[in-house]
């Protein structure tokens, strides 16, 4: 009575050999595509959240992202990300009052210097004109939720929100 299971075993082993041959030509691509179709996205604490709107300034733009809120026990604060780009069009010192929530009233004033050397560390001051946003003084990049960094041709500022 052993022969049917034996045949099944050898058939499965043969199919495994065939699958191994197909890995680089078919299976790997198939699984990769399947994974991308799951509709997953990278945590917004890293990526910064989807773009909500863009404000046109003098030769440059300020992109406003959707507010990001921490999950469960995540140790970061809620924040909103603002991108200034292109860096080449920015003045030496930026000081912009930004209407983050789109109600026509400025919510924060963001001020930072734009050094010519891209490797020079950035520091940012944020004045809260709306109580929903937290002020920051001379901040570099201590946390994902409060920072200023240069990324390719943009300067990103993350302004923490007050937690209610």
């Amino acid at each position: 009575m052993k022969w049917p299971t034996s045949k099944l075993g050898y058939t499965a082993a043969g199919m495994t050999v065939l699958a191994a041959v197909l890995v680089p030509f078919l299976l790997m691509g198939l699984f990769t595509k399947g994974f991308t179709k799951l509709g997953l996205h990278v945590d917004e604490m890293y990526s910064g959240g989807p773009t909500v709107r863009t404000i046109q300034a003098d030769g440059y733009t300020i992109t406003i992202h959707k507010a990001v809120y921490p999950h469960l026990l995540q140790t970061e604060k809620p924040f909103v990300q603002l991108d200034w780009k292109p860096v080449s069009a920015l003045p030496q010192h930026v000081s912009d009052a930004v209407d983050v929530d789109g109600d026509g009233q400025p919510d924060v004033r963001v001020s930072f210097d734009v050094p010519k050397d891209p490797k020079t560390p950035l520091r940012v001051d944020v004045d809260a004109l709306n109580l929903r946003y937290q002020a920051m003084r001379n901040v570099g990049k201590p946390k994902f939720s409060e920072l200023i960094v240069r990324l390719d041709d943009a300067i990103l500022v993350r302004v923490p929100l007050t937690e209610h």
Binding site: A13, A20, L27, L40, H41, F144, R150
Partner: protein
Amino acid sequence: MADAACTAFAGKTPPRTWSRALLLTLPIALWSLFMSLRGLMQPDRSLQIASALTAAFLIALFFMMMKTSSTYRWRRWFFVALGVLFPIEFIHNVMVLRGSMGIPIEEMIAGRTPFCFLPIPLLILPAALTKTLVFPGSILPGGGMAGSGMAAMVGLWLAITLVVGKGWCSYACFFGGIEEGMAALPKKAQWKKLDPRLRLVPWAVLLAMVLLSLALFEPAYCMWLCPFKAVSEYVAARNTVGLVQNGIFVVLFAALVIVLPLLTKKRTQCTFLCPFGAFQSIFNKTSVFDIKIDRTVCSPCVLCQKSCPTMSLTDDSIKKGETLMSCMKCGACVDACPKGAAVWHIRGTQVAVKPERARLMFLYVAWAMAAMFGGTIITQGLATILQRVI
């Protein structure tokens, strides 16, 4: 003479003739050459030489497996080469692109953190519950060190796991080679008695890391426990917490990858810590290949148990004629058994009936994956060294 030969290889496959070994190597030789074609066709001379050397190395090792009918010692050469060359190539790339092994926060925000297979089990629960990947990489190719992206790594892992199951840990993992090399250095183990309950630690680490990753929404193992951060990259230490994290990586690497393998002749990181290895053990149940102990031949000398690098054989499992689910099919026990009682096996078939056929089928599958994935990494590592030399 004939009697002596029969006694020496009782129950074991005797060495093959050169011509038969060559014939059995032919499919893998063609596969390895095919896999190295891309490198051979590149204009970079270092890459051409590295591709040719890698193909020759893989073919030679497989030939020796066929010729001598032993697996472990030849596989080990491949595995150690993979383990040593991966960090060389990786660190070189990181230094060229960033000038530091620390991942700056900018790179994490840009999704340019390279994604290895170790965090895969940690991503499952957050992804299933919130469709969120708690890793600062990019799903598709993202430039810089992001390489081909997370989707490609997951696709590759799924495909290789489908065919070799837990064999991933012996034929595809690019981290285990350093400790396997360290374990091979001493002639005898200094620490022989290891508490078998320690084998359960990786399951506890897996559970803890999965739950922590869900709670903190970060790849907790990568942030706190991965010893291989010491030879790849780590979160740039911006504060005390970062310093503590990096200290943990170095201590774990020194202890589990260097010192303990030297003292125990075991792959201690894989046996006592690796949550990915524990997770991968689940796929031992789905693989058609396994290793059995033929109880009719076995006189429990426990040489198999002593030789197992991951403590996947216990007195009880030997009595039952099987390995534990942590067995990564390296073949050490089969090679060590003087009676040929430890055998390669295909599920559903009778134990010790044509074990060499089972070994051959498994090795074709495993070595094809080794040449495809590990071969590429070895080529890149060699090319990095050659670029410095030539």
